[in-house]
Symmetry: D2
Subunit: 256 residues, 4 copies
Amino acid sequence: MEQKPVCLVIGAGAGIGGNVGIRFARAGYHAVLCRRSDAEGLERLVETIKGEGGSASGFLLNAVKPGTIEDRVAAVEADIGPIQVAIYNLGAQIGDRSLADTSDKAFEMGWRLATFGLFRTARAVCPLMADRGSGTIIATSATAAMRGNKGQHSHAAAMGGRRMLCQSLNAEFGPKGVHVAHVVIDGAVDAPDTLGRMLGPEAFQQLRETRGMEHDGLLLPAEVAETYYHLSQQHRSAWTHEIDLRPFSALPWWNH
Amino acid sequence: MEQKPVCLVIGAGAGIGGNVGIRFARAGYHAVLCRRSDAEGLERLVETIKGEGGSASGFLLNAVKPGTIEDRVAAVEADIGPIQVAIYNLGAQIGDRSLADTSDKAFEMGWRLATFGLFRTARAVCPLMADRGSGTIIATSATAAMRGNKGQHSHAAAMGGRRMLCQSLNAEFGPKGVHVAHVVIDGAVDAPDTLGRMLGPEAFQQLRETRGMEHDGLLLPAEVAETYYHLSQQHRSAWTHEIDLRPFSALPWWNH
Amino acid sequence: MEQKPVCLVIGAGAGIGGNVGIRFARAGYHAVLCRRSDAEGLERLVETIKGEGGSASGFLLNAVKPGTIEDRVAAVEADIGPIQVAIYNLGAQIGDRSLADTSDKAFEMGWRLATFGLFRTARAVCPLMADRGSGTIIATSATAAMRGNKGQHSHAAAMGGRRMLCQSLNAEFGPKGVHVAHVVIDGAVDAPDTLGRMLGPEAFQQLRETRGMEHDGLLLPAEVAETYYHLSQQHRSAWTHEIDLRPFSALPWWNH
Amino acid sequence: MEQKPVCLVIGAGAGIGGNVGIRFARAGYHAVLCRRSDAEGLERLVETIKGEGGSASGFLLNAVKPGTIEDRVAAVEADIGPIQVAIYNLGAQIGDRSLADTSDKAFEMGWRLATFGLFRTARAVCPLMADRGSGTIIATSATAAMRGNKGQHSHAAAMGGRRMLCQSLNAEFGPKGVHVAHVVIDGAVDAPDTLGRMLGPEAFQQLRETRGMEHDGLLLPAEVAETYYHLSQQHRSAWTHEIDLRPFSALPWWNH
């Protein structure tokens, strides 16, 4: 395999993750795309990239199982090349649930996916990046990292933890040349296999038609990917740690 | 036992928790004091309160074991009386540790103590309070809930999760008459069995002598307890959700 | 005049300011009540306090005129006694206005009242308090200090400036024994001569009836005053810089 | 003059403003560069851009004088073309000054430059951009917009006002297609005519040598300009309102 820089995407579905993979592949990176299930969809994504002349590999990865992330990082470094950019794109949104309807298990699963998985990813890649004196870690985050809404007990706790973890990672690894960025996705993403699955096909289509004014009232993942790419290219004299993204027509989280 | 309102303190050591118990007992509450270990210290605390003419019970409670918090809440409601105020005072500070020195276990333990324990407490007491149309939950929190410093991977992630959880709890239960308050303890507390244990007796004594200008350069837990008591007495037309506390001589977390 | 500690209230109408004056007078302070107009209302407030056995003086004061605040502070110190607590309670809410409808003059007036007036007050009282090694300054603030909503160009800019000013004041004067507190009033106050005047009597009465569930869906100023008093009595080992207040039934500013 | 899109820069010195002008000119914009003084430096900047094959005009503009910004905007629209991007880059940092050393005049000047000037700019350009359904306003902001440090009374109040104003502008004009971005420059900029002037040539050179590890321990304005350009090119389905920028080696404002 050619010696391209590697962009590892954990959580590479048809939304932000997949589009970030496509964007980096276009820029000459080898995209390593990981997702929990849907081997076919993963294969299609890899083929899409290859069809454009890009380079990509796909792996199924269950991020809540011990050792999976760690092993994947080690295998990528050994078999493909040094990971220059790592995108942690696993969410933990389960829709609004009252406290009574939020089980211990659901609460813990939120943490495992959104907080602990990022911690494990960072523990695997940060030392490698620090040794090389460079690298970028971008965590896709959510409004729930900034404020806890009604029904968001599991999600908000998990994302609030993620945000503070990103700050601690940045405090330790920034001076070692590792760029850690926390991206607050503050709106609904036009992503069929997360939002679409949560809402169901009809409600999702309706939302697209209502809010997707000229197709841009929802966050378009391909456009989100442009900003991820920009972040990865920032010169180390002018790094961003936190940035928000929302459609022009959406109310920011702080307004109401 | 007389029909006093009950103040449950989870994490009742010699620092904020114990002093909050004493303060509420002085105001006519029955203090239910829970801590993980040191049965003798717990007994001394109960006796101190009784010696002042107050009313208190003490229980050992390992908050990371399943069912312990839930069972204690049920037993207190059955045997002592309705919990009017619940103080969640368990911290998860383990000192500064590099990412490499933060094990999966340490990271998970922070979450279990600081985030999940509060969630379980809330799930046990919130429905009872909501049914009664009143009640107060106060979470002792930390600077690490507001920003992640170097070496604070576990603590910051856990406290960041706690903060967002408090906001979600407030969003659901505030309108039902349950007052949820998040108290940011933004400084070192003059507490022998947490800070004292972490620093060791000599360093702790030195800190007291250096920073404890006229005994108030560290947060005095008895003074902190005054504000906890005030929060519990706020009229529901003017509730506080978030408040910070620090010594006059300390730099707030946002300055440097 | 007896040697009571003095509580100076700038902006003492029938809402928070007047009630804070009453609360401090009940606790043994001499309340110095200043407001721009309505000499009769001011006189009634002074008489109310005196009728309760308290001690108070009233002065008309146009805070946007140069020298007025400074002269009043000097006169109070000379004629009545040392100002121990200063409450800056002037708001600058002018209702929602589009940018086109916000004149240069309106924008500047917001700043003069909400930001510059506090700066001038601080410049007058901080040195006196720092010399005495103690004192409390409480600024009544608003949601608009935390986020800028649509139509709030003047108000949000003014209050955002006030908040940052409070932090700078605290950073300089906290270690000198002067307690600076920024109180975020995050909801509508049951105050006839500010909210009432803005809405008009009918809409105000309707709001009271709709939102004032059992008279506490609006912020009751007498209850707000309890927290102001508590802040002034906090021991310097455990000071609060920022605190929010809202009715139990209101959505906090960060939720929507 | 050719029909290039116009990028107006208010505050175009040798730091961020000038470099932003250069960056946009390289991308095909006509850069309109405004600064208060130093006609020669301004002319050099215009010539630099023209020498690269770019297009630029320069104007002296005293932003604190009434009508100056408004007239310049009108003249640019009439004589050069529609302003597509407006950069408000005037700062108000005057170094650390105690409250006693901060005169009324200094406090007011901070507001005039940092808050009121942006308001006036927005009032001039927002309606034009809203009519056209597109446009970008980027405000260069500072750490002092996020927290008030010791000695920053004037600067923090001014920048805190600027931040809230940006949020209100965004709330009104975002849905009309006008992108408002608030850029938090959280570190020292390698800018000879602001930081350099404030520190003096020797201290500035020393800072560059100490902090400018391989020339990137200070914010390099040409690199900052890359992010400004990216912001202006974001698709309206994924806009950023707030972003921070600092050198990799610098402590973010929230850490200490």
